[in-house]
């Protein structure tokens, strides 16, 4: 897509550590810019295309095909491009999976898990927390043997990466070939909110019943949400479900039950192309992400000013929260970082402190610049 892929930024572009909506690859934005008024000689913008036109359908299908290739999605999974962000899926998942009764089971590892739990409880009441990391301050995820789902579990939901807490699962619940097992050996479908870690590395999709991910971290612009759903789960919906929530109808209509978010879908396709062609796929992406995160955590751990409380095995590669030993330094830290072209390092308003999000589109050079700035700040002010 261009030599500027994951490398240096153009002089006008700052380093953006936002947790979402997050940085996008410069090469993707350049392509979108160049195609804005005229998509490849068709005489109109992608934004202006009928979603049923051959040009647009080709864009949409290529995006899906590239995503399938990147994640090696098995043929018995449907890929949906829908709307409302992950938050809408907090409602859509129970509507789609509780039609045969049973209860929704959750692992609680932080703020986003709890939002999913709250919505299922609000709508359907009967919710079970199969395990929680709250007692130890969400600094480590529950171990597999601590998961106690109910006998009537219709599914088990977890949040692979807590964007605010910076807490990530280091394992996939369940066993090879599917989700966790009930005492009678039957499968509890595994549902995962993968908003802030999808596409950060290779994934065994066959372990999951449903994966969903808001686009605004590693996929594309806010508004779009990608749902990957195993076909045998399409027939479990509650009849009282709002029609647009229905995975089955969306799957049958190629995600075009109504007009989809066409431009966001196109941009997601450009990101997938960038991952394939410029980065070289998810194994290469994972190696870059591992390096980026390792060097930032190493800098934090070696410092007397900065600290991160998460158990090493569960430290997120995507979101690195840290606090300063003296919180009176927070404001100057943020102000000087912004002066240095390091944007959006403020932690989530619910927890304070700092957070550097190192999504795919954040180049290694940005992390190096952040580490240099942090060391310099500590030398001067720490």
């Amino acid at each position: 897509m261009g030599s500027n892929g994951n490398g240096g930024l153009s002089p006008i572009r700052h380093h953006n550590f936002c947790a979402g909506p997050a940085a996008l690859p410069t090469a993707v934005l350049e392509r979108a810019r160049d195609e804005m008024l005229d998509y490849r000689g068709h005489g109109l913008s992608v934004m202006e295309m009928s979603h049923r036109s051959p040009e647009y359908v080709a864009i949409a299908e290529k995006a899906e095909a590239d995503l399938r290739e990147l994640l090696a999605i098995p043929a018995n999974y449907k890929v949906l491009f829908t709307q409302g962000g992950a938050t809408q899926q907090f409602a859509a998942v129970p509507y789609n999976l509780l039609g045969r009764g049973g209860s929704a089971n959750f692992v609680d590892t932080g703020i986003w898990s709890r939002k999913a739990i709250a919505e299922a409880r609000h709508l359907f009441g009967d919710v079970r927390v199969a395990a929680s990391s709250e007692a130890d301050g969400n600094t480590a995820v529950p171990r597999p043997e601590q998961l106690e789902f109910s006998g009537d579990a219709a599914y088990l939901h977890y949040t692979a990466n807590e964007t605010i807490g910076g807490l990530a699962f280091d394992y996939i619940p369940g066993s090879e070939g599917g989700g966790p097992r009930r005492p009678d050996g039957s499968e509890v479908p595994l549902v995962c909110d993968m908003s802030s870690s999808i596409l950060s590395g290779p994934l065994d999709v066959s372990r999951f019943g449903i994966i969903y991910a808001g686009a605004q971290k590693n996929i594309g612009p806010a508004g779009l949400v990608v749902v990957i759903v195993r076909e045998d789960l399409l027939d479990r919906a509650r009849p009282d479900m709002p029609s647009l929530f229905g995975y089955k109808a969306l799957a049958e209509a190629g995600s075009m039950v109504n007009t989809p978010a066409t431009y966001s879908w196109y941009l997601a396709g450009l990101v997938f192309e960038w991952l394939k062609d410029d980065i070289g796929g998810l194994a290469a992406m994972e190696a870059i992400n591992a390096r980026k995160a390792a060097k930032l955590y190493a800098a934090i751990d070696a410092s007397a000013l900065y600290s991160n409380p998460i158990a090493p095995a569960n430290r997120s590669r995507m979101n690195v929260p840290f606090v300063l030993a003296d919180e009176r330094l927070d404001k100057p830290f943020l102000a000087e970082a912004e002066q240095a072209g390091l944007l959006n390092l403020k932690g989530h308003r619910s927890v304070g402190g700092m957070r550097a999000s190192l999504y795919n589109a954040v180049p290694e050079a940005a992390v190096d610049a952040l580490i240099d700035f942090m060391a310099d700040f500590e030398n001067r002010r720490g």
Copy 2:
């Protein structure tokens, strides 16, 4: 925003008559292109901004302020920028208005009315069709005296402009100062799907309880939906409503219950700016739209080849469907039109024939080019 506002197209841009996603003003796309990599010196794209950052909040607030100015929205109305298109509002409206019981009442004037009716019936069963134009083939809207809403009507819903049928209301049901009245004098709140006619001219918002509009015609890119809701209607929601549907929560959170479709909202703001600054407001826009539609209908009526069946008073200014006297000419008509740079004239797949959508962003020059082409085609092939 630039001299290219509603005037000539750049050489690379064709004339786009798509019903939606529809043409956008060239000047808007140019601005989006120029700001794609770096929004006004901030060093990042609007797509990459935190929705809670001061830069983005300023963009969002200006968009709302400009929309309020354009439509002269009274202070007791909230403006929401949400997701899922108008189709999601087919569910959200009854969830938000049926919490105190009562039934949903509808005027049926075509395919989009019926989709709204079907969703309310699917979710809540008790639906009343207060009037229908089906018996006369949806060629005229029911007259005010034909509306028979039920005594327990919680609201009356209508579709101001049927995008597929090209059928438009020439009046607003009800009376000055609010919706229709029950026998006891109390108001039945009026709800209007205005997706394909909003912003085509001035509007008396105070007549409505709720106006909603999918963005992909006169507002911006697909995915965004704008809801204008009178404050006293915010407390009538059903408790079993998916949280993201809730107008009250959206209003209280400035439409940021979760991450909104930030880039689409920004683009909508650019369209509002264009309407204000380049066009000169909605009265000027209406004059242009009236001229565009009048000359196309005149050309159709004067022709022996083309025809449109809609009663003159109810002909849509936004969507002009027409058929050719010999449908064997449909294919050559479409092929030759496309050769001439006139795109997306094919009628909706459910009805066939042709349709020229003349939304705000379709310049008068495009309509002139279409009329010239139609006359030439008739001379040669008619």
